[in-house]
Structures are given as structure tokens and as C-alpha cells.
């Protein structure tokens, strides 16, 4: 029975990774950059809710929406100030380092405002745990909420990209910026929209993450951010179903590894699986192959 509990926990953690990975994969697909600050947007999202609810006594639902709005604004602003001026720069490393700078900035800003102490985060999920099999299997409210959110986000995002004009524009821009521009697509606007969606998802992920694992510090988002990027690469970067599969697999592997092999080596197992997958399939599980023209 404990195995089933672990798998459920894994699905829950995996769903959080998947939500973050969705944002990562979209931003990567469109801006071709490793956005190291993405994980810190998660932290900002969680801190906003913490600040609103625990310190200002705001209604939790209102706090969630405020948090999403703030993260969207933050994501779009970061792109506008720090990344957009570097588009077309001589080396792709440049924007990577700038993203690292943004990451340092957000972490240290949070450190300045909230201090280095770990805060205990009150869960935002008003659902009672469900007990099955005579109480041997426990599904927490957070788990239900997380998995539900992940499914809803997946479906609506896929519909958005397939069915709407801005969604199609995103696909076009990620395929070929120059051609998209010629077709009259507002490239800058589309990139901003992508950052907005990605950052909004990061806020949701942050709140879910801290509801399930209720400790919050300025560095909370860093490792989940990296893991989510790994999930995105794992599933095939740029692919939305890939992000989902990558995230879920990563979460389940991590929880099972922690339970059955070694809690200290859980991350080692996660990273090993990534490497093995990439060695066998260099573009990830659902990725496409790109070849240089000679």
C-alpha cells in the first residue's frame, strides 16, 4: 500500500514539475533561452500569497489571483527589460548570464524583504484528504488540487495553442521568427504573451508547491526550476505533451527513488535518468530532430 501512496505523491510532485515545465518549454521554444530566473518567479508567486494571506490577512482566493497577476507582470517586465534588448546578441550565452543576473536579483530582493529564515507556508487548498482502502491509501487535498490543476492547464493550453490566433502565432514565432514577422505576426507581442503565460503558470506552481511542501525561502524556486527544465528537456523541449510526461515521470522517479533507494541519492537518480534518456534519444522523449544544413 505504501507503494501506491508513493506513486500518488510522485504524481502530485510530478504535476507541479509539469506545470513549471510547461512554462519553461514554451519560453524556450519561443525565445531559445535557458531562463534561469523562471524558478525564482515560482518563489515570488509563493511569497506573494504568503505575504497576502499570512501577513495582511487577505482572502486566500484573492491572494492567489493577485499572485498570478504579479507574476505575469514580473515575467513580462523581465523579458522587456533584460532579455529583449539582447535579442540578436552575438552569443546565446549572453542572455543565459543575464537570466542568472535576474535570478540573483529576485532571490536577493526576496532576501531583503522577507529575510533568510524559512517561512512556514499555510496550505491554500481547502480540500480534505481522501482515504481509500480502509485508510491505507491517503490522498491529500493538495494532491487532488495539484493533479486537477495540471490536467485543466494542459487541456486549456493545448486548446489555446491549437484553436486561437495568438496560440497559432506562438507556434509560428517558435518555428521561424523572421518568417512570422513577414506574415504580419507581432513577434514582440507574442513573446511577451508567452512570458506572461509561463510566469502565470509559475505562480500557480509556486502556490501548489508550497501548499504541498510548506516551507518557503528566497531559494525555494531554484531547484524546482532546474528540475522542471530537466523535465522539459526529458520530454523533448518545445513539446507541451513532452513537458507533461517529463514532469510526471520526474516526480514519480524522484519520490520512488527517495523512498526505496536513498533519500540523499534521489536527485542523483533523477539526473541519471535524464542523462540516459538523452543518450538514447538526444532530443528527449517527444522532441524533434534538427539538423544543420551543409
Amino acid at each position: 500500500m505504501s507503494f501506491i501512496n508513493y506513486v500518488i505523491n510522485g504524481l502530485s510532485l510530478g504535476s507541479i514539475y509539469a506545470i513549471i515545465a510547461l512554462g519553461y518549454t514554451m519560453v524556450y521554444g519561443i525565445a531559445r533561452m535557458l531562463n534561469f530566473a523562471h524558478g525564482d518567479v515560482i518563489m515570488v508567486g509563493a511569497f506573494t500569497v504568503f505575504f497576502g494571506v499570512s501577513m495582511q490577512g487577505l482572502n486566500p482566493i484573492a491572494a492567489v489571483f493577485v499572485s498570478i497577476a504579479i507574476c505575469i507582470t514580473l515575467g513580462v517586465t523581465i523579458e522587456f527589460i533584460a532579455y529583449r534588448p539582447l535579442r540578436g546578441a552575438a552569443s546565446s550565452l549572453v542572455v543565459l548570464i543575464t537570466a542568472i543576473g535576474v535570478s540573483y536579483f529576485l532571490q536577493n530582493l526576496a532576501l531583503l524583504i522577507f529575510g533568510a529564515n524559512t517561512k512556514s507556508f499555510t496550505s491554500m487548498v481547502p480540500i480534505n484528504p481522501v482515504r481509500l482502502a480502509g485508510g491505507e491509501i491517503v490522498i491529500s487535498g493538495e494532491t487532488i488540487m495539484t493533479i486537477l490543476s495540471c490536467i485543466i492547464i494542459m487541456i486549456s493550453l493545448t486548446a489555446f495553442i491549437k484553436k486561437t490566433k495568438p496560440g497559432q502565432a506562438m507556434l509560428a514565432v517558435s518555428e521561424d521568427k523572421g518568417a512570422a514577422q513577414l506574415m504580419g505576426i507581432n513577434v514582440n507581442g507574442t513573446i511577451s504573451l508567452t512570458f506572461a503565460i509561463g510566469s502565470g503558470l509559475a505562480a500557480i506552481a509556486g502556490i501548489l508547491l508550497c501548499s504541498a511542501y510548506p516551507s518557503l525561502s528566497p531559494y525555494t524556486g531554484s531547484m524546482p526550476g532546474i528540475k522542471a527544465f530537466i523535465a522539459a528537456v526529458f520530454g523533448g523541449i518545445g513539446s507541451i505533451p513532452g513537458a507533461l510526461i517529463g514532469g510526471i515521470l520526474l516526480g514519480v522517479i524522484e519520490i520512488l527513488g527517495r523512498a526505496y533507494i536513498s533519500s540523499q541519492l534521489a536527485d542523483v537518480i533523477v539526473f541519471m535518468v535524464l542523462i540516459i534518456v538523452l543518450l538514447v534519444k538526444p532530443t528527449g522523449l517527444l522532441g524533434r530532430k534538427l539538423q544543420e544544413k551543409v
Binding site: I100, F105, L265
Partner: protein, 355 residues
């Protein structure tokens, strides 16, 4: 054929800067003008310079992005410290012991660079970045969970806990899991650090200006052309990556012998460390060896110089980093700088006087 002296002059300036900085620092110290805080930073500065210069070999010269440099440093640190701790009674003359520790640290890190490089160097760009990051984290986490003990039966390993080593009464735990190695001889000092910086510069700068270095740079500039003229691309990628890893191992040995213990903590050997070294390389100029050295020094001292600003210093550091990146690389800002540069201004003035 007067070109070789030009390269020599460039290299001599780099060595000269190190030697002069060293001499000035020694004089200041002898007059008691250097605070303990800054004195404590001298060996770390050497470590960062070695790390930055060696990472530049991978990033700037080979042109491949690595985010696992701290992992190789970790290997070097532990291999060297392990050796020193085991032989501290057998080899009492510390310079020889430390020299051997450095060789061992470099060899172990270089070997792992080779073994890891073989499968991963087929990846490029961001994929390589994430895979090297993964390997760096694997190394750090495995060493963090590693227990190694020594008794009259030989060496014992475990990845679970100290008791699992099953040591005899005469046994001794050398690597104690998350606590790492405690009681390494403190063999590192500023002079040794500077010597190792000079050695690193010597190896990297001479490698670049040699047959193998040209082959490595040709891969960076155009891999397909490089293959088409018969360059063994895999071999030279591995060579650059392994040498870079070995030198990171040297920095690691310096690190683990600077304090009397070493632990595989995320702070010392995590991906954030690798990223920080990458920041040095990029800000110093990708492929610019002297630049990495200067960037490593300035960016290490900057937060210290901002110490007066206390809580704001890391925030300012972050802003400085972002602004410098935009100022140095943004195509629009570069164009603006081009138009408003002094030379351009002088040219315009001259043009006006002609009219």
C-alpha cells in the same frame, strides 16, 4: 615572421599582472595594510581565477557550454584531501605531499572529465549545459553521501552510513558522508595559489597557441569545416574538456587544503558555483583568458567592497551584472556606443575642422 613575439608579449603581460599583483599584495601585507578579511580572500581568489581560466578553455576556446565545472572541482578537492589525510603521517614534508595531492586531484578530475565527456560532448548548446549541470550535481550528491573508511583490511566504501563500513577497531573514517573530510593539512597559501594560477595560465595559453589548440578552436568556429579538413573532432573536444576538468581539480585541491575540512555542500560545489564561474568567463570576454582572470578577481572583490552597503550588496551585484551584460552585448546599445565612442567623436571633430 615577427608575429610570434607579439603573442609572447601578450602572454608576458598576463603573467606580469599576476606577479605584480602578488608582489604588491605581499608588500601591503608586510606593512600590515591588508585586513584579515581580505587576507582570507587571497587563496579563494586564486581558486576562482584557476576555475575561470580553465572553464574558459571549454566555453571560450572549445565553444561548448558547461555548467558542471564545480563538480570537477569537487572531485579534485576530495581526491587531493583524501590523499593528504591518508599520507599525512607517511609524508611529513608538506610541499611534496601537497604537490602529489595536486597531481592526484588533477588526474582524478581529468579522468572524470574524459569519462563524462565521452558520452556528453555529442550534445551541443543548452542540452550540453543541462547534461553537464546534471553530472556536476551527481558528483556532488554522490560524494555527499559517500563514506570511505580505512582499516588494516583495506579500504571500505558505503553510500548509506558510517556503520555500514564495518570498520575494525584500528579503522578510521576518511570521508564521513555529508561531513566530508575533516582534518586535511592546511597546505594551501597565497604563494602556492599564485604559482598554480601561473601554471594554469601557462598551460592554457600555450595550449591555445599550439597545433592542438588550433584544432580545438577550429571546432568552435566551424565543426563541419573542421571535420572536412581531417580534424578528429571527438578527440580534441575531449582533450579540451579533460584539461579543463583537470585544472578545475587543481583548484579543488587548493580549496580543500585551505581550510582543515571539506564537505560536498551545494554552496561549495553546487551548480550555483558552476554558474558563478561561468559569469566570470562571460563577463571577462568569452575566449579571453586574461579577461576571465580579471573578471574573477573583480567580481569576487566587488561584494566585499560593497560590504559597507551590507544587506544591499548582493542586490547591487545582481543589478551590476544585468546592466553590464546589456551594456556589453545588446545590439542596440553596441550600435549607440559605436556612434558615441571617443574615436567617432574625434573623427567628427576632425571632419568639421576640414570643412
Amino acid at each position: 615572421m615577427e608575429k610570434i613575439p607579439k603573442i609572447w608579449r601578450e602572454n608576458l603581460i598576463t603573467y606580469g599582472m599576476v606577479i605584480i599583483a602578488y608582489a604588491v599584495m605581499q608588500i601591503l601585507i608586510s606593512f600590515g595594510l591588508v585586513s584579515r578579511l581580505v587576507q582570507g580572500l587571497l587563496v579563494p581568489l586564486c581558486i576562482y581565477v584557476i576555475l575561470a581560466v580553465s572553464l574558459n578553455l571549454t566555453v571560450g576556446i572549445l565553444g561548448e557550454l558547461s555548467l558542471g565545472h564545480a563538480g570537477f572541482m569537487c572531485l579534485g578537492a576530495f581526491a587531493g584531501a583524501f590523499f593528504s589525510k591518508v599520507t599525512v603521517d607517511a609524508i611529513t614534508f608538506s610541499p611534496v605531499r601537497f604537490f602529489l595531492a595536486i597531481l592526484i586531484g588533477a588526474a582524478v578530475a581529468g579522468l572524470f572529465g574524459f569519462l563524462i565527456g565521452m558520452p556528453v560532448l555529442r550534445f551541443r548548446g543548452d542540452y550540453l549545459a543541462i547534461v553537464t549541470l546534471a553530472f556536476g550535481e551527481i558528483i556532488k550528491n554522490v560524494i555527499n553521501a559517500l563514506f570511505v573508511g580505512l582499516d588494516s583490511n583495506g579500504v571500505h566504501f558505503s553510500l548509506s552510513d558510517r556503520a555500514a563500513l564495518g570498520l575494525l577497531d584500528d579503522g578510521d573514517v576518511i570521508i564521513n558522508g555529508a561531513q566530508g573530510i575533516i582534518g586535511t593539512p592546511q597546505d594551501s597559501n597565497f604563494t602556492v595559489g599564485v604559482l598554480l594560477v601561473l601554471l594554469t595560465l601557462f598551460i592554457v595559453m600555450n595550449l591555445i597557441r599550439s597545433r592542438d589548440g588550433r584544432a580545438i578552436m577550429s571546432i568552435r568556429d566551424n565543426l563541419i569545416a573542421s571535420e572536412s579538413i581531417g580534424i578528429h573532432v571527438t578527440k580534441y573536444k575531449l582533450m579540451a574538456f579533460s584539461i579543463s576538468a583537470a585544472l578545475a581539480g587543481v583548484a579543488g585541491v587548493l580549496y580543500s587544503h585551505n581550510l582543515n575540512s571539506v564537505a560536498a555542500s551545494p554552496r561549495a560545489f553546487g551548480y550555483n558555483m558552476s554558474i558563478m564561474i561561468l559569469v566570470f568567463v562571460v563577463l571577462g570576454g568569452i575566449g579571453n583568458i586574461r579577461g576571465s582572470m580579471i573578471a574573477a578577481i573583480v567580481l569576487t572583490l566587488l561584494p566585499e567592497m560593497l560590504r559597507g552597503l551590507d544587506r544591499y550588496r548582493m542586490l547591487i551585484y545582481a543589478i551590476v551584472l544585468i546592466v553590464m551584460m546589456l551594456f556589453n552585448w545588446s545590439p542596440k546599445i553596441l550600435e549607440w556606443r559605436e556612434r558615441h565612442s571617443l574615436r567617432e567623436l574625434a573623427g567628427r571633430l576632425r571632419g568639421r575642422s576640414k570643412v
